[in-house]
């Protein structure tokens, strides 16, 4: 485990908002029937979270469950807990048609926080970031300028951004460019 390094190894930048490499984060893709009781039970037991509604996340004890599509969840948890959680979920879902797979290393995660966070993201994602529209617990699977990306908003006004690992540097550069201290829009 000591060999593992996140894509930008904890880099950070402060401008209109604070942009940070969130370090190693555990992520599990779960595909299955989100309406099924057995899947909801397995997720609840493994994460403490309920199945999130469309474009929402649920959170409990440091674990976030993200709605990715009508048959896909992303479970975000501690990096070192992933193998155990994959095993637990797989075991709990034995017999059901479901796919549980570790994608922790396939991703990069960044946080964007501070008063300018909404504006910084509104420069790269075609999403309405107005405070009454994008509320804590809200989630979007969308694009960040030219690449695929997704993000949710924590209760503490921090956006968590997930993208593919290979474009981690691009996304970090994109966010820091958008967070240029001289580039305030002033609408949020």
């Amino acid at each position: 485990m000591s060999n593992a390094v996140s894509v930008l190894n904890g880099a950070s930048f402060t401008g209109l908002a604070e942009v940070k490499d969130a370090g190693l984060v555990g992520m599990i893709t779960l595909r299955g029937d989100l309406a099924s009781k057995s899947l909801a039970k397995a997720v609840k037991e493994c994460t403490g979270c309920a199945i999130p509604g469309i474009r929402k996340v649920t959170q409990a004890d440091g674990t976030t469950v993200v709605w990715m599509s009508p048959d896909e969840l992303l479970i975000v948890t501690a990096y070192q807990d992933v193998d155990a959680k994959v095993d637990a979920l797989s075991t709990a879902l034995t017999g059901a048609h479901a796919l549980v797979v570790n994608v922790s290393d396939a991703r990069a995660m960044f946080t964007v926080s501070g008063s300018g966070a909404r504006e910084v993201l509104a420069k790269v994602a075609p999403v309405d970031f107005a405070a009454d529209q994008f509320v804590p617990g809200g989630f979007r699977r969308t694009r960040l300028a030219q690449v695929a990306g997704a993000f949710w908003l924590d209760t503490d006004a921090c956006f968590n951004i997930v993208c593919f690992r290979s474009v981690g540097q691009y996304v970090f550069d994109l966010l820091t460019t958008s967070a240029d201290a001289n580039a305030e829009v002033g609408v949020y």
Partner: protein, 1016 residues
Amino acid sequence: MLSVCERSADMSTRLAKQGRLIDRTKQIVFTFNGRSMLGYPGDTLASALLANDQMLVGRSFKYHRPRGLVASGSEEPNALVGLGAGERFEPNQRATTTELFEGLAAQSQNHWPSLEFDVGILNSKLFSRVLTAGFYYKMFIHPKPFWKHVYEPFIRQSAGLGKAPDKELKDADTYEHFYFFADVVIVGGGVAGLQAAKTAAASGAKVLLMEQNAHWGGRAPVDGGTIDGMEAEAWVTKTLDELRAMENVTLRDRMMGAGVYDHGYLLGYERLTDHDPSKGGPRHRLWRIRTKQIITACGAIERPLSFAGNDVPGVMLASAMRDYVVNWGVTPGKRVVVATNNDDAYRTALILQKAGVEIACILDARRLGGGALAAEARAAGIRVEDGRAIAKVADGKRVTKVAICLQDGDGQSIEEIAADAVAMSGGWSPVVHLWSHCGGKLTWDDTQAHFRPDPTRAPISHDGKAFVVTAGTSSGPLELSAVLTDAAQAGATAAQGAGFPAQTADPASAETMPETPMEPVWLMPANADIQHRMKSWLDYQNDVKVSDVQLAAREGFESVEHTKRYTTLGMATDQGKLSNINGLAILADTLGSEIPQVGTTTFRPPYHPISMGAIGGEARGDVFQPLRKTPMYDWHDTNGADWEPVGHWRRPFTFLRDGETVQEAVNREVKNTRENLGLLDASTLGKLVVKGPDAGKFLDMMYTNMMSNLKIGKCRYGLMCSENGFLMDDGVVARVDDDTWLCHTTTGGADRIHAHMEEWLQTEWWDMQVYVANVTEQFAQIAVVGPNARKVLEKLGGMDVSKEALPFMEWRDGDIGGFKARAYRISFSGELSYEIAVAASEGQAFWDALMEAGKEFGVMPYGTEGLHILRAEKGFIMIGDETDGTVIPQDLGLNWALSKKKDDYLGKRAHLRSHMADPDRWKLVGLETVDGSVLPDGAYAVGNGVNGNGQKNTIGRVTSTYFSSNLNRGIAMGLVKQGPKRMGEVISFPGTDGKIYEAKIVDPVFYDKDGEKQNV
């Protein structure tokens, strides 16, 4: 009279008073063509040039005629300048929309050798008969040499407006995009826009109001009248304060509505630092707005009058002339003639006179003249002549005298008046551009003689309902009280359209002078003869005259769209803002048709040119394009990687050492891999997990060979065809457990094949229980290749990688050197080879461990070119080299991979088509040049005879070609007609270098045909 001017010797000058937008307490120094000039904060470049008596601002496009300012806003056709220098140089910037700043440097355009003396002016004398409508079209059908040697050099030398920026320099500024969402967006911050915003915002709708200028209120503060009992400017200030206090309203100035697109998409072009380049941050911001309703409150543009010499510097729109006086305290002349067909132009005369400028005469083309404003002018002692027109303004670099005639006549002069400026007004046309961008239709208004939006034929959204509403003068009405009423109604309509409760439109009340109706004047005088018509400009920027449009009509151009292209009317950078209506009125008249029947040309975004930088947004420099990097990217970069783009990935082509050429490095890597130990970063290969009760059945359909019977722990090479039978991807499939397979794809195939699988699962085989996940980036995958491959893994220790424990084409999970790994015994090189997958986050550490442990075994990384050569030596095909979307597995001798046991798979039926089964298809062979040289890539082999076009018949082509350092000769693969039946035959490949390459057809496997080396 002259005493009011600061510099009485000049004719265009700053007035001692007036200038509501300028701050006279501070001076700004700027240059025009290197000459230093002074202006004030709040000036535009145009107002500052006029204040410095710089009447001449450019030369016209075709005839290089001297041109001056005509307008005061974005409709200006003449005053285009080059702004800035070096990394900040930008051509074709409008002086009228350029705010003055300290150190601004502007150059005039389109002249040689100088603005004052231009050789091209001779064109106007020599060539005005030649460069008529349709010149290019007519010349193209003349004998070719005449065009090439006579006309083209001449046209090229004289054509073109601004210079392109230096191609070696990069724009020093930055730009960005911004996504925004609103219920109602209002374009235009004049009194109509403000009123509409007020009404719409009262409903609770989220409102965005944008104004292209730095100041709010539009024309109203210049044109006068009272609103709610106060001066227009006071009302503007009060309303702005009210709007600013509302949380649901966003106000942006220096932001233009550039274009309206389907379903409420709108572009806003915000200019952040143009007025102050010393300010940091992005120069322009492109707002990409989604809204439910759009209100266009863009005002109207005054039309010029078409009389002879209407392009002489000093001839200006009447409204622009009073703008310069009221807004910037500048007068373009001391003695002004006003020509009009409406009452509004009298305002210019009255304002100018009040500012101390002499009005030589008002020529009102209407036989019965004007109303209350005319009476006021007469009472003020101004000479007013009804039914009179301008016969001609004398040619020159500025106005000197004006010949007067009867409007109903043919242009015979009855009097000449000395004057240094002319204010003209041909009536007003609503700005309908944004309304029209998305399909809003227009209707002809006979009273105002203009096209205005037809609210019954609005642009409609996805629900079939109108999503654009016009407000104020943009709707048609010109009188202040009607403007405000219309705007309030527009605000209420838009709010309701956006789903908010209906508002009572409660417009501000307004009072202005009553006006008598205008009378259309399309040609001045009405029966002007050809000499006059040839000097009456419609389109200043493209030099199109009344006579050109008439000629086009006579030559049969009846459609306004055709006439536009034939004459270039309205095709310049101002997109015909001034010329459009006048031009089509002339066309209608010449055709004996009515204006509404002729119609308008199409209005397309952007309303006014926007910068390329704004369109590109942040995408420049490091973030121009996303680069995909493997976990070992940085190591590669510091260890000599010569990068090759592979899609968005960057992969090392080879690793250069000091003093090596690329070819030398490749040769070294290829040899070392065969003799010792090579490492390849194979992380980019696609990895798709396919799981579910029906996964085996699904994969049997996706691949041409059988995957359902693959045993757990084993690997199989598979082919994928499209429905049409063409080979689309290949790779090694591993069976992970009972219902799970891992499919490797090519680097470029990862996303494509993932999408391909999802498409079949979601649209055709939705009843199959299969899930697919793309785990490509979860793993760093390293190929450990060569005779020493096993030794290095054994040295690292952990799982058993012996021949017995991990045979060829099998895989095992385990631990290697402390890393959790999955080892595949697969080979794309023909050597003993393992591909080891570890977590991507540990990829660099694992690579380091292999490099360290491999030292004693001669470890060396190799790049994609080495990979290619190693596989080509073995005759392994490469998707994208041997395939191009027209190649089927049978062409490549891969019949063994086409299952005969399966009932069906994608491509199976297509392979039965007669063309697919044709024995004459080009098939894969090896090619060996007779002299050992390297065949040119993509070269075609020629056979006997010629085809219908007289070209030599082709019988094959090279698909892959390399120098093999192991075999010390060129090797190649190619597709050749009936190739496998022609072994030993020598065929010819003419190269583009003039050489003919002779190559022998051989077996494509050049190295270790029995596969003994990989199976140890």
